[in-house]
Amino acid sequence: MASTIRIKAVASGDATTVQSLIRHPMDSGFVKDKKTGKPIPAHFIEVLNFEHGGKTVFTAFWGPAVSKDPYVKFKFKGGKKGDELKISWVDNKGQSDSLVAKIR
């Protein structure tokens, strides 16, 4: 299966700009299923972690108010072109995914 994580990390000067898009329903638990009328249980990413050179550079804690197929952008110093960036997430049902990408 294709990864749920899409990432673009670009180094410019001493800063690396990271943009990531993750495929996830991010169900809030407040929405009813149109066919059954029953609420769709909450299903959302709780923790998203970015690591560079063995060190965490950014951690997101998300609640159900983050939009479906979440997007996030941040910037960190110390990354170089060709370096590896490891991304991982875990959701409230214990599902998870991870990916190692190269900084461009």
Partner: protein, 167 residues
């Protein structure tokens, strides 16, 4: 209900495929790096601040997350639309010129649970975060930054024409 469309991203997905393949090949090597940290710091659900995400007011969220209150600051920039046509996807970006920012929180005061997202900012990472949030109705959005151990905040009213929490 708004549906996220993949179509405009198809081109980009194709471009990214190469990067993804390269990344997977590198996976084996990464776990072996010698650091005083665990082999790698994967996302850990135990770190998730469950209590903060249950709170119904700004004060209670900040108490649960940081154990203190925030003062208003003009050094925080909160970029959000004046009017959000679709409450399911409201782009919100925050950044700051405050020194030594270690944490960022974004709150939507009229949502069922006020805290939308919180970010941990290690040394070397800029005081900046951009994301997309759901808004149930028109609300004040508050950005909070922890700088040198103190909390600062900025807010902006965002008008929502179609709420993002109904079905």
């Amino acid at each position: 209900m708004y549906e996220f469309s993949d179509a405009p991203n198809m081109a980009r997905r194709t471009i990214l495929k190469g990067a993804v393949a390269g990344g997977l090949a590198g996976l084996t090597g990464l776990g072996l790096s010698s650091f005083p940290f665990p082999a790698y710091a994967a996302a850990d659900a135990k770190e998730w601040p469950a209590d903060a995400f249950k709170q119904k007011s700004e004060a209670d969220v900040l108490k649960a997350l940081y154990g203190k209150t925030a003062e208003a600051s003009d050094k925080i920039s909160l970029d959000a639309p004046e009017i959000a046509e679709n409450g399911a996807v409201v782009p919100i970006a925050v950044s700051s010129t405050l020194p030594n920012v270690t944490g960022i929180a974004i709150l939507v005061l009229n949502n069922p649970n006020v805290l939308a997202a919180a970010y941990k900012i290690p040394a070397g990472t800029e005081a900046l975060a951009s994301n997309r949030l759901k808004m149930a109705k028109t609300s004040k959005v508050v950005a909070v930054m922890e700088s040198n151990g103190k909390l600062y905040s900025a807010s902006k009213q965002v008008k929502v024409t179609v709420g993002g929490c109904g079905g």
